[in-house]
């Protein structure tokens, strides 16, 4: 697929922008702070309904205004689809497909599919487990947009259940037990949604592994192997969590339920949800060593790059019917050495569409010198 047209209004630094794009590589060039990343962030937002840079929506709306709008015309398998999302911080987003409002914004997920690689991705490798869970869950939703609902419901179950654990724990300490009657119900919801999420993560990881390992071997040749291992909070019940075949959600649900029963006392004492996929991690390794804490700066970058390129290849193979994802590279060439630049350029040049930002045009390898846009002073001008 490719984006034929992108418009934004009151998004980040942009009062309005209107960019016509084509298949193949497009390079956005401009000095620091001119709004290049803001434009690709808008594309990323349309695809995932979240920013790759900030966890909340407030910074996305141009300061002094109340709401931002992002729109795109997307061409996939010869058909054009228009998607529009309106962001008003503190309220639910509103969205339209081909001009008609959809009941919930997340109904537009799947219309635009892309993989975005940006300097922030170093956090997947070096950051907290939550960064890696987010990486996996974003991949899960990109593969199957329906999972956005499961993910949102699971988060809500966690909030409800931890509120209940806190009040029930307090009640228990003062001799009552009234709140405990509903805890079983929330256990059931946690297990049901958690099992679906966990099963989808394991499936995504199993599918990603060969692509990520191949991408790592490509960007860091003559090096050790990149390994990805799911690290589950269910080890007491399932020391070996098989990925192939991926365990049936009903089995995982039963395991979660029995684990919840086992840790109930501790949960009431501490008032936190102690088991479930929100406690899990994705262990990244290079040969025998963990990436986190051991890998060099360059190895960390290669790992992040391999995860994104692997995701790109995976999503491409998931949808072989002309719906191949768009590849977005935000300001990454300046960070990479010559070999990795070339490997990345090789992949990007074969993509149906790629959008690349750079402060200096010469940072972008020659194969990717397609359409060129100058981003300057609140304007996007096509110069080639």
């Amino acid at each position: 697929m490719y984006v034929r047209h992108l418009t934004v209004s009151d998004f980040r630094s942009w009062r309005s922008a209107d960019v016509a794009l084509e298949p193949g590589p497009s390079v956005l060039v401009g000095a620091n702070g001119q709004g290049k990343t803001n434009l690709v962030e808008a594309l990323g937002y349309l695809a995932t309904l979240s920013s790759h840079r900030v966890p909340t929506d407030a910074p996305l709306v141009r300061s002094g205004t109340e709401r931002a709008v992002i729109g795109a015309a997307i061409v996939a398998a010869g058909r054009e689809l228009r998607v529009e999302v309106e962001i008003t911080p503190g309220r639910a987003n509103r969205a339209k497909l081909n001009g008609s409002p959809v009941p919930r914004a997340r109904d537009v997920l799947g219309a635009l599919r892309l993989v975005l690689f940006a300097p922030e991705d170093l956090a997947i490798v070096r950051g907290d487990p939550s960064e890696r869970r987010r990486f996996l869950d974003d991949l899960v939703v990109a593969r199957s947009p329906r999972m956005a609902g499961v993910r949102a419901d699971y988060d809500r179950v966690l909030k409800q259940r931890s509120a209940l654990l806190k009040s029930a724990g307090a009640a228990r300490r003062s001799g009552g037990n009234s709140d405990l009657r509903t805890l079983d119900v929330w256990d059931g919801h946690l297990a049901a949604h958690g099992a679906q999420l966990l099963s989808a993560r394991l499936a995504a990881l199993a599918a990603l592994r060969p692509h990520a390992a191949a991408a790592y071997a490509q960007v860091a040749p003559a090096s050790v192997e990149l390994t990805l291992q799911y690290n589950t909070s269910l080890t007491a019940a399932l020391p070996e969590l098989p990925e192939a075949p991926v365990p049936d959600p009903t089995l995982l649900e039963a395991v979660l339920l029995s684990e919840l029963a086992r840790v109930r006392s501790a949960e009431l004492e501490r008032g936190v949800n102690l088991v479930g996929p929100h406690r899990d991690d994705l262990d990244l390794g290079l040969g025998q060593l963990a990436v986190r804490g051991y890998a060099s700066h360059g190895e960390s970058w290669s790992t992040a790059l391999a995860l994104r390129l692997g995701s790109y290849e995976l999503l491409r193979s998931d949808y072989p019917d002309g719906a191949e994802p768009i590849l977005i590279l935000d300001d990454v060439f300046a960070e990479l050495d010559v070999n990795r630049r070339e490997q990345l350029a090789l992949v990007a040049s074969k993509a149906e569409q790629s959008v690349i930002t750079a402060a200096v045009a010469s940072d972008v390898p020659d194969q990717l010198q397609g359409a060129r846009f100058d981003v300057h002073d609140g304007e996007v001008r096509r110069v080639r």
């Binding site: 009941p103 919930r104 179950v157 409800q160 509903t182 119900v185 929330w186």
Partner: protein, 199 residues
């Protein structure tokens, strides 16, 4: 910025209403300030009247002008089947489908620990009282198709199933994560006729 005295008080009051943000509160306040005296007085007296005159039906909990609502006192309605909903507005939504001829029970919300709402804060005890004489044989759980609605339905089903009643839940097909109120009549009607037993 803050306005002086009554204007700011009004903005603050309006801002406490559901779905009204600070900007809208300000817009409504200035709209009222510019309105005719009679229009504002009519609005004010309606607000007072709604609080004084409108009661909740002592049986089902729906809003009512008298001690018992029209549906609970209508002898043509089937007394053996009760549809359990969260809010009075859900009664209206179900009535619009014309699929249901039994009676209602309004819980007054859904279980939501975040908001401090547990089973004891809902009209569950009143529901159990209604089931005591054995007239009711089926209970339809029509709480919202979202997490809290599902949790409430599960809780009720587990409690009431052992009493030997048929407990049913609306068929899927309702927009998941949504609000009963926003389901269109056809979809909601279909969900009613396709309801299934929960165990």
């Amino acid at each position: 910025m803050m306005y002086e005295g009554a204007v700011q008080d009004l903005i603050d009051e309006l801002g406490r209403l559901p779905g009204v943000g600070p900007k809208s509160a300000q817009r409504i306040a200035f709209y009222l300030l510019a309105s005719e005296q009679v229009d504002v007085e009519r609005l004010a007296s309606t607000l007072i009247r709604v609080k004084n005159d409108v009661k909740f039906c002592s049986i089902c909990g729906n809003v009512s002008e008298s001690e018992q609502c029209r549906i609970c006192t209508d002898t043509r309605r089937d007394p053996t089947i009760i549809c359990v909903v969260e809010e009075p507005k859900d009664v209206l939504a179900v009535e619009r489908t014309r699929e249901f001829r039994g009676r209602y029970h309004v819980l007054g919300g859904a279980i939501s620990p975040i908001d401090g709402v547990g089973p004891d804060d809902l009209r569950i005890r009143e529901l159990l009282v209604r089931l005591r004489d054995g007239v009711v044989t089926e209970l339809i759980l029509a709480t919202d198709p979202n997490l809290e609605g599902e949790a409430t339905a599960t809780y009720l089903a587990r409690m009431i199933n052992p009493m030997g009643l048929t407990v049913t839940r609306l068929a899927s097909g309702l927009p998941v994560g949504g609000d009963l109120e926003y389901a269109d009549e056809v979809t909601l009607g279909r969900a009613f006729s396709g309801r299934r037993r929960v165990d």
